[in-house]
Amino acid sequence: MSQGPSSPLTAARLVIARDLLLAFRRPEQLLQPLAFFVMVTTLFPLSVSPELAQLRAIAPGVLWVAALLAALLALDFLFRDDAQDGTLEQYALSGQSLTWLLLGKTAAHWLLTGVPLSLMAPLMGYTLGVPASAGAGIMLTVALGSLALSFIGSIGAALTLGVRRGGVLLSILILPLAVPILIFGSRATQLAIGGEPYTAPMELLGAIVVLSFTLAPLAAAAAVRISLE
């Protein structure tokens, strides 16, 4: 009955499938980061000015800071449920490489939080006076940026797993590391809004995505093993 062990890739795919199924069964939790993103964005017209011209000038910064904070909020429950009910322990003891499993888990997390954020960003951009034509550019930049952020953030989430009130600490640990994403991402969005080509910052953002995609799961796996003690 027992064939050979599942390959790391199939194991990672299983983890993704399970998280997507779980999210499908209980979608409310996914709305929180989105609602937070919309709320933070609407604070700026109220605080800066209702003038669209003025808002368009600060739109990239507003969208990116709001997306960054929403992603940080979402990272808080990346591992929390699995840690509490013992699933993370079973991952660590499954004989599969924990790095691959966490790669899958973080990818699923991005699909459930990063992608919705990138779909919502052009909409909120429109409310800040950004022309709809820039929508595709905003969507692409936020999608790529949130992918890198999910992976770098997964290290922080794993490190602060065993810590009470870990949410605040998670932000302090991750924000300095997220500065390059913020810089290249908002620059790319700015160019996209201006209708200019934004390939240069996108390539740099892409480099960070590849770096975090490959290295972050290693650090997150080590951090999870430490937090499970």
């Binding site: 050979g4 299983l14 399970r18 069964r25 322990e89 079973q90 003891l93 499954s94 004989g95 499970l228």
Partner: protein
Amino acid sequence: MSGSILRAENLHLWRSERHVLKGVALTVRSGELLQLTGVNGAGKTTLLRALCGLNYLEDGQVFWNERNVREDRAGFHASLVYLGHEPPLKPDLSGSENLHFWAGLRRPTTAAAIHDAMLRTGAAEFGARPVRTLSAGQRRRVALAALVLAAVPLWLLDEPTTNLDAHGQGLVAALLDAHLQAGGLAIAAVHHGLGIEPARLRELNLST
């Protein structure tokens, strides 16, 4: 599966200031059940978690088939299942879905195999219902089905009979007996005996 042996020597572990494991040593051979007894806080759970590598051992070695587990950690983990106090099940998924994902991590499983395992632990009739609607005893039976499905030589069980009625405890004893007969090993942290025949039983009291 038969002929496996788990040996540990000179295990030391601290919980910040408390010296929980003081030079613990143990040997479990194929077909044997080692019962860990002792008062609460004596370190039964800590020892189980230290053996499988969840807790960080300050000193001492663990050998699986005479090879230090640190050399092939993945291989060692692939040959054991650790069941903690709470069965690791997702409330929003059904019993069979939970088993599909849990056992699938180790090796591809079929729906039939899952159903057979649940039949053996009496979890089949409520296998399709979301786990959150199940009682603690029923959840325990789903978790035990995972043990059967994993088909690994080494079982590490932390109070496997909690929330189980007399019938359930009989089931655990039967499963364990079959596992030991087939040459498997088991270490269980218990408060009272598991009803295994003395020939296969060994005991380690952590309170003395």
